[in-house]
Every structure is written in C-alpha cells, then in structure tokens.
C-alpha cells in the first residue's frame, strides 16, 4: 500500500489507474458536475429554442462590461491557481502561499461582483419571475420603444429570468464553495502542509477551480453574449 508521501495509487501496479485516489476521485466528481450543469444549461438551450421571443438582445438587460471584467478576473484566478500548483511542484513555498492567497482574493471578488450585479438587476426590475410590475424595465417593455441599441424589450421575460438566475446562481454557489475549500488549502499551505513530493491538495482543488472557470466560460458566452 502507498505511503502518504508518494503520489502513487495505493494498489499494486498491475491494478489501479496510475493516478492517486484524490485526483481520480475529483475527476469522477467533476463528471457528475458536468451532468448537473447539463441539466441547467440544457434546459436553457431547449427553453430558448422553444420560446426565442422571451429573450432580450445582448446587453439590453444584462450589463456586459461589468461581467466582462468579472470574466477576466475569473480567468486570472485560474492562472494564479495553476501558478500555485507549479510553485508547489517546485517546492517553492513562498510563491505557493502568494499565488494561493491571490486566488482566494480574486475568487471572493468575483462572487462580490456577481452579488452586486444581482442587486442592480433586481433594482431595475429583473427577477427570476420576470419583470417586476411597475419597475423601470417593465415600463420600458410596455412602452415598446427600441431600447439600448436593440429592438424593443420582450413583453415577458419569465423564462429569461428563470434560466439566467438559476444558472448563474449555481455557478456562483460553486465558486463560493471553491473559495471556502481554497481557504482551507491556503491555511494548510501556510502551515507548510505541501511539499514538492506531496501536494495533492493543491492539485485537486485546482482541478475543481479550473472546472468552475470552464463552466463560466460557457455561461458567459451563451447567457450574456448570445
């Protein structure tokens, strides 16, 4: 059987995948995550295909500049994460801590910006159930005039709101979870818990983190830009 020091699968060579348990487990788990987002994103695609008229043009309701910045942040957090992993491989404790810390901070910023985005949208009158009666957006929609460089707003955006909030909030939830685990890993790193020989924690949390980033790449395109 393996010793915690060596990143080899515990079982003998002829059995086993040549990948240590935590990494294999994380990949399997990510498989289930893919299916979870398939349920949400798939429903979105299907509903939008069935009811195209319920969606506003890009940028009309959602604020693309802000989200663009947010997307960029998440990409940065991915690179800081992978840098942390590289540092861990080199046994460079100083950089490991620095990069992990950066990742935590950027991740937290992403979530805060998303919360801010929600607050603004709610204020303007866009909720999971659709327009808020009497709100700014509702009036614009009633007016039927062209709006923010697009055509008039759809008179009902029930499905738009439902899918937008469900998908983005669940992604946000994943980021939050990621940040929490990342804090755990960072603390352990500061305690010198990772060596060049054994830095499973860093690699495994990294996989999760990059996956969440990957999901956002898809979401940003199909939810905000299309």
């Amino acid at each position: 059987m393996a010793h915690a020091a060596v990143m080899q699968p515990p079982a003998s060579a002829e059995t086993g995948a040549g990948v240590y348990n935590e990494k294999l487990g994380m990949w399997v788990f990510l498989g289930s995550e893919v299916m979870f987002f398939t349920a949400l994103i798939g429903s979105y695609i299907i509903l939008r295909f069935a009811q195209p008229q319920a969606w506003a043009a890009p940028g009309q309701i959602l604020n693309i500049p802000v989200t663009g910045v947010n997307t960029f942040l998440l990409i940065c957090s991915s690179v800081t994460m992978v840098k942390a992993f590289a540092a861990a491989q080199d046994g460079d404790q100083r950089m490991l801590k620095a990069w992990l810390l950066a990742t935590v901070l950027i991740g937290a910023t992403f979530v805060s910006i998303q919360v801010y985005e929600y607050l603004v949208l709610a204020h303007e009158g866009f909720l999971p159930s659709g327009y808020v009666a009497g709100s700014h957006l509702a009036e614009v929609a009633d007016g039927g005039a062209a709006y923010k460089g697009g055509a008039a707003l759809p008179e009902s955006v029930g499905l738009y709101g439902s899918t937008f909030y469900t998908m983005t909030s669940f992604h946000g939830f994943h980021v939050t979870m990621g940040v929490l685990c990342m804090i755990f890993v960072t603390v352990k790193a500061f305690r010198g818990g990772y060596t060049a020989e054994d830095h499973r924690g860093v690699e495994v949390i990294g996989l999760y983190w990059h996956f969440v980033d990957l999901v956002w790449i898809v979401l940003f395109t199909i939810v905000y830009l299309i």
Binding site: M1, A11, T15, E22, L24, S32, L159, T163, T166
Partner: protein, 584 residues
Amino acid sequence: MATTAAAFDHVAHAHADTRSFIRRYIFSTDHKIIGIQFLIMSLFFLLVGGTLAIMMRWQLGFPGEAFPGGGVLPETMAPDGVLLPEFYNSLVTMHGTFMVFFAIMPLLVGVYANFLIPLKIGAPDMAFPRLNMVSFWVAMPAGLIMMAGFLVEGGAAGAGWTMYAPLSANPEYSGVSGGQILWCVSIAVLGLSSILGSTNYITTIINMRAPGMTWFRMPLSIWSLFITAILTILAIPILSGAAIMLLFDQLIGTHFFLPPDGGQPLLWQHLFWFFGHPEVYILILPAMGMVSDIIANGSRKPIFGYHSMVYAMIGIGFLGWIVWGHHMFQSGMNPTLGMSFMISTMLIAVPSAIKTFNWLGTMWRGSIRFHVPMLNAVAFVAMFVIGGLSGVFMASTPVDIQIHDTYFIVAHLHYVLFGGSLFALFGAITFWYPKMFGRMMSEFWGKVHFVLTFIFYNLTFFPMHQIGLGGHMRRIYDPTEYEFLLPLQGLNRFITISAILLFATQTIFALNFIISWFRGKKAPDNPWEDTGVEWSTPSPAPHGNFPTTPTVHHGPYEFSSPLVEEDYLMQDRRVSKPATPAAS
C-alpha cells in the same frame, strides 16, 4: 488533506481496534459498519413503503370502507379510517418514492456497494472512508425530510413519484405545497449522498484492487456495482438539477415547467426520464451481479460466459441512456422521436437475453444446492423474465397506447422491482449475513419466507396485467367510479387480500433477520463454500478486513475446478501450478 489522512489510517491492516463507541458504530468510517447502517435504514423505509402500499391496496379493494386501525389517522388523512383522495395521492407518491429512492436503491448500492467492494477486491477499506461516512449521514436526513411531508400542512407530495409538472409545480393544482417542496429538497439532498458514494465506489474499484485482482477477475457483483456507480454519477445530477428547477418554480416564481409564461411541461418529463431510465437499471444491475455470484455458488459451477455477462451489463448501461422516451410515448412527444425510442428500447432485450440464458447455462449440468440465497436468486431470474417480457409490450408504441398508465405498467414495474431487485436482495441479505454479523440466518425460516413470499407475490401482481389490459388506470383512488371497471373489482379485491398476506409474510423475514442477529448460530469463515476473497477473512470481517493483503490467483468462479479436490477454489488460494495472471 482530510480524506487522505483517513484513507491511510486503514493501511495498517486489521489490528486491535481502539476506537470509541461513537467512532466505531455511529460516526464510523468503516465501510462494513456504514453498510450495516444503510441496511437498517433502508429496511426501515422498505417497511414504511410496504405499509403505505397496504393502505392503498385496502382503498382499492374495499373503496370507502374504513381501513382497519385507520382510526388513528388524523382527520386530514382518513376521517374515521376512510382514506381521503388527496391522502391516497400522497400514499401512491410516497410509496413509489420511498421504495425506489430510500429502500431498493440504498439496499443495493448503499449496503452492498459499501459492504462488498472492499471485501471482494481485497482492499482494507474505501478510498475515502470519511466521505463514505458523510454519504450515509446525508442520506439519513434526506429520508427524514421525505417523511416529514406527512406531518406538514397539506400533506405529503401527491403528484406521483414522477412528479409531473405542472401538477407538481403549482400548489393551486395539487393542493399540496409543503409536501412538494420537501420532496424536491429531500431528493436533492439524497442526490448529494449518492454522488459522494459513487465517487467513492468508482475510485475504490479502479485504484484499490488487491494484487492479481485484474479487471476480468472481478466478480460480476463488483462489475455490476462499478457500472451502477457510473450510471449513478451521470444520472443523479440530472435529477438534482431538475428537482432544483422544480423547487424554484414553487418557491421563487420561475417558469421552467409552468406553461402560462412559456414553461415546458414536457421538459420536466424529458429530464426526469433521462435520469429515470438509467435509474431503473441502477435498481436492477447490482441485483443481477449479486444473483450471478449466488447462482454460480448454488450450482457449484463457474458462471457461464463470464465475459459476455460483463459486456451485456456494459451494453445495458449504454443503451439505458437512449431509451428514456419510452415513458413518454403518449405524452404528446414527437411521434418520430417515439419511433426511434421504440427501436432502442426493443434492443435492450438483447443484452438482457444474454444474461438470462447465461444464468440458465450456469445451472445447466451443475450440482445445485437449494440454500435460501439460491432459491431467491433463481426466483429473481424467473420473475425478472416476466417483468422484462412485459416490458416488450410497452416498448411497442401502438400496444403502449392501450396499456400506458394502466395497471399493466404497475405489474411490469413490480415484477422487475420486487420480483427482480427485492428477491435478489432477500438472497443477498441471507448470503452475506454471516460476513456482516458473524451469525447465520435460520435456513428453515428462510425457506418458509421464500415459499410464501413467492406465492403471495405472484398472486398479488400477476392479476394486475389483466386489469391493466382491461383499462384500469394507475393512481386512481376509487376504481368503482368507472362503470367499465366494475367487472374488475373482484380481481382488485383478490389482489388486495394477497397483498395483505404478502405483507404479513414479511414479518417472518423481519423476525428471522432480527433474532438471528443475536441468537443465530455462529458462522464459519466460509459457510457457503464460496470462492470470493471476502470468505477467506474471519466472519464477521475484522476492522481493516484482511490480516494481510490477499493476492489473487484465479478468476472469480472457480467451482468444481479440476485443480483441487474440493468443489471450490478460492480466488486467493495458490495451487501448486500458479494460474497465469491473464484473465481466466
């Protein structure tokens, strides 16, 4: 890494065990204890589900008559013992939900994946023991949340275990609000448990097999549990996602499945069945695997066509993903789509045929021992075939027009789920009981329970084909409302009486199970003279499972092998001329 630490606690093999009572029996990370915890939990929910069924049956057999002892039920369910229609809907829904999600699924996967995988592949424990513990302590609350439905205002969920929207999505339609919400929450929570569990099973099987335990030396039970875990990992998240969308429709006013604002009721059905059909194979594959082990043992013969058995299960696993539409033939789904779903559904008969006939081939020219596990395993084959064949009727779209949503479906699903999964489980429980508890269950009472269950089971469910063809719809509270169903009421009564007897019979099993735990005769290491690795460690298996990591030298079913004079050759027993490491 928290989990890592735990993972390697167990590397030091079976040792004097110094854990506190709590760590040992309540928050244990030992896969065997967790398996037993799941066993107790799911048997309890099996009992609950059965009890609900009997109440339903009473109303169907004797509409409007007071349910004996029903007086204790509150006004909102059954004023002076007569069930209310809304309560009946909750009964159907909860019966299906408990049986599928909290009885059979945990029994097969929670109990036997947990208990058998490490023991049968020669590992000290799961890859992530602590995660394993969490998966039980998440499943348990899920079950309690589901039961809480009966206590809340408006009663438990009442839209059928399939939760078709919009009925399930809008309290104004169903009259149930709290119950619906609890259903969604409970299912989402249970989903988490299943995903954690399956991650564990897959990792363990891939990475923790003992030296010599190559893929094609794994017992079919392990193969089936492996494929099942993969199906679970991929199917359950779809249900969780759908359940969450349904929850949002109820709570925060989204419109996923509510037509007024463009929602699509059929979308729910597609999502549910895209999960649902793989789910039903999750409910049968482990049964098939364990039955294969037991039949080989009972026939004292190697399993017939081991490789084709494996490929057949993989085939069922694949096909299971492209047939979900067969639940929606009459739902207004695109008929052309229905046609392709019909063909793919029909094709599933092929791998199932392979398995059926290989079981027969295993018994052929065997030396069959009639121990309780074998009896139940053979009953599994006999009954699963009936259920499978009735499935072919529904697979034919035109015939399904007549039998869809009738008792023909109810008959089908009970033949595969009770006649299939549950008989297999009665066998499996008896077979591995000694390794779990170190004692044998009573052979005599086991046989009595088997014979009576087999008879009453068929008397209960076979006539359902008949009334189904007659047009008897599912999920109806009072058949006598339809004058074209009146001629069938006699049969309904007969079914109800058989069902009550069937239920009563189960007390034999319950007593046998409980009493044997304390009074059963002490079990030797290998009571069934089986070949599996788990039988070479003491009964009950010690903490850490094996005194020393076993090395595997043979395929899984070397019964009556010419290499030795006993009629079984254990996988980890080395004989003078070592078998080649290649697949047997």
